[in-house]
């Protein structure tokens, strides 16, 4: 194993151990946010980073998952696991319906607008559908899962539960990305017309990965709901729309491990700028513009180029 890979693994293990070692709920909170960023980044990378389709419904899937978990926990008495599964299923289903319309009809800029329009529509619905979502007041009282062991205080236990979930998601996405399917997806970003001409049904690949990414975002939303214990229409708004975008762009489109690293790195922003979400939004907005104009290949791309040129 190469030195840098060993170092990366050791660092990861250390990073995972830290919240347990520090032992405060605060440390657990930071860890949980980092995990959520990682889950969002990895799943968004699967659709946008690899195929190049700007599917801005990621926040919609995230929000759907959050609301499903919220309603399941507070109205239907569901447990944590059922919440997660239901969130993933419903988000995936909505993704399927959206994908069937969008992938058959549009690509590029109109595709982005159609998906963004859907997300904002969700926001409008969540903001006004009082009997179900309670509008801007949101749904509160979502409890932490009772299966957590009592060893760790506060959010730390929830963090380690999240590590299991995140690990599973990373494994799944890694499996897809490194398989032949992954090569087709990357090909779609490079030259979809050529793949079509070679007889590959790109529509099917796009739809499948999109449903998967949506389902994973839904599961992430459920995890988020149980962490925050409150869900409001904000989950559908620009904050959660921009974050996966920033993560994937800063890391470099399609750069699997860089996405994880950048996600963890960026997750300190909500912590340090906790005072004002507006400052966070400002930072993320500026970061997005800067990265797109100045470093279009992202950090991962820059690193890879550097590695190549050093050989």
């Amino acid at each position: 194993m190469t030195k840098s890979r060993t170092a990366a693994i050791l660092l990861t293990l250390l990073g995972l151990a830290i919240p347990g070692l520090i032992g405060t709920g605060h440390a657990g909170n930071i860890g949980v946010v980092a995990l959520i960023f990682v889950m969002l980044g990895v799943s968004f990378n699967l659709i946008f980073g690899m195929t190049g389709y700007l599917a801005l419904t990621h926040a919609a899937s995230f929000g759907i998952g959050a609301y499903v978990a919220a309603l399941g926990a507070t109205r239907a008495g569901w447990g944590f696991s059922l919440d997660l599964v239901a969130a993933g299923l419903l988000a995936g289903l909505v993704g399927l319906l959206t994908g069937m319309l969008a992938f058959r009809r549009v690509r590029g800029f109109p595709f982005a607008i159609v998906t963004l329009g859907l997300t904002i529509t969700m926001w409008i619905v969540a903001d006004h559908w009082m009997p179900v979502t309670r509008g801007p007041m949101g749904i509160y009282g979502i409890e932490r899962p009772s299966i957590l062991p009592e060893w760790f205080p506060g959010s730390v236990g929830y963090f380690y539960l999240g590590v299991l979930i995140t690990g599973g998601i990373i494994l799944l996405c890694w499996f897809v990305a490194s398989s032949d399917t992954g090569r087709v997806l990357r090909g779609i970003r490079e030259n979809e017309g050529l793949l079509s001409a070679l007889g590959i049904d790109t529509y099917r690949y796009k739809l499948n990965v999109y449903v998967l990414a949506s389902a994973l975002a839904g599961i992430t939303g459920a995890y988020y709901a149980h962490y925050l214990t409150v869900v409001s229409p904000d989950v559908f708004w620009l904050y959660w729309i921009t974050i996966p975008l920033v993560i994937v762009h800063v890391a470099g489109l399609g750069r699997f491990w860089a996405v994880i690293g950048v996600a963890v790195g960026l997750s300190v922003v909500p912590e340090y700028l906790r005072a004002s979400q507006a400052y966070q939004q400002l930072l993320f907005g500026v970061a997005l513009v800067a990265v797109v104009t100045l470093l279009p290949d992202g950090i991962g791309g820059w690193w890879a180029k550097r590695q190549r040129s050093l050989q």
């Binding site: 190049g52 700007l54 319309l101 058959r104 009809r105 549009v106 690509r107 590029g108 800029f109 109109p110 982005a112 607008i113 159609v114 963004l116 329009g117 859907l118 904002i120 529509t121 409008i124 619905v125 903001d127 006004h128 620009l238 729309i241 921009t242 975008l245 920033v246 762009h249 004002s276 507006a278 400052y279 966070q280 939004q281 400002l282 993320f284 907005g285 500026v286 970061a287 997005l288 513009v289 797109v292 104009t293 279009p296």
Partner: protein, 294 residues
């Protein structure tokens, strides 16, 4: 019947605002293949500036109007020079992503600078209500219709007659050919963007007395504007105009007869519906692939 007419009249004023935004967006798209998501935010900043100038700084009305319009143009100028100019040759949706980031940043900056509070113009600025029989039209809504038509007519004349107008149309139709005959496309793109920024500033002046200003108003307007532009056909000014008024009137009807809450979602439902039938938009090509050029 009267109720219906009233709603339609309201819808026309709404459509007039949408028209200003949509025409600006489709113009930029035709010229530079840029989906400028920050366009509505130029308008939002100009609206805040307009209200602040009138209410807080006691600026004379004509000066405030000119100021707001110029602010819209200035924001567009800076955006083009700093951001979009580098992205004309970037693939696909890159410029749109940058615009999204820009929009987010502008909104956040406004929230930080002004503590995010929405602003309204006080009643001393309210004009009297016009009455045509039983139909009531607030002076501001009438001005919105009139002001929008005037601005769009001026724009149309400019595009048809002047040298710049011809150059803009040439670049929109065939960039390479325009380059070959010596049209400076960089400058044309900058001028067009500033023009649409001025248009956005004018829209702010018209809309501020009716709806006030708040940080998120730009996003909703831009998104609806883009839905209109795609539905009408990317790059088609006529499509944008028709789509804008259709949406305006439809929204007013939905707000009046169905539900006031969900009217904003109408634009996206219409978009989805149209795309199901004609992927290129009503006035665009009827084919599937709306590929952005590299």
């Amino acid at each position: 019947m009267i109720e219906l007419t009233q709603q339609i009249v309201n819808g026309l004023s709404l459509g007039s605002i949408y028209a200003l935004i949509a025409v600006g967006l489709t113009l930029i798209f035709g010229i530079a293949r840029v989906g400028n998501f920050a366009h509505g935010d130029y308008m939002m900043v100009a609206a805040y500036a307009f209200i602040l100038m009138l209410a807080d700084y006691a600026v004379a009305l004509p000066l405030a109007i000119v100021g707001a319009v110029l602010i819209g143009g200035a924001l567009a100028f800076v955006s083009e020079r700093a951001v979009f100019r580098r992205l004309y040759t970037a693939p696909g949706t890159t410029s749109f992503t940058a615009a999204l980031g820009l929009s987010t940043a502008i909104q956040a900056a406004v929230i930080v600078a002004l503590s995010g509070s929405p602003r309204q113009l006080t009643s001393e600025w309210t004009f009297s209500v016009l009455e045509f029989g039983p139909i009531r039209l607030s002076g501001h809504r009438a001005m919105a219709i009139g002001g929008s038509i005037a601005a769009l007519a001026a724009l149309g004349a400019f595009l048809k007659a002047g040298k710049f107008g011809k150059a803009i149309r040439a670049v929109a139709q065939q960039v390479e050919a325009a380059q070959m005959v010596g049209i400076p496309i960089g400058r044309i793109r900058l001028i067009t963007m500033v023009l649409t920024g001025l248009l956005a500033g004018w829209a702010a002046v018209l809309i501020a007395p009716i709806f006030g200003a708040m940080p998120v108003m730009g996003v909703l307007l831009t998104l609806k504007g883009m839905a209109i532009v795609i539905t009408g056909g990317l790059g088609s000014i006529g499509g944008a105009l028709v789509g804008a008024y259709v949406l305006g009137v439809s929204e007013a009807l939905v707000a009046g007869y169905v539900s006031q809450d969900y009217q904003h979602a109408l634009a996206f439902l219409l978009l989805a519906g149209v795309l199901l039938v004609r992927p290129g938009g009503i006035f665009g090509e009827g084919t599937v692939a709306m590929e952005l050029r590299r």
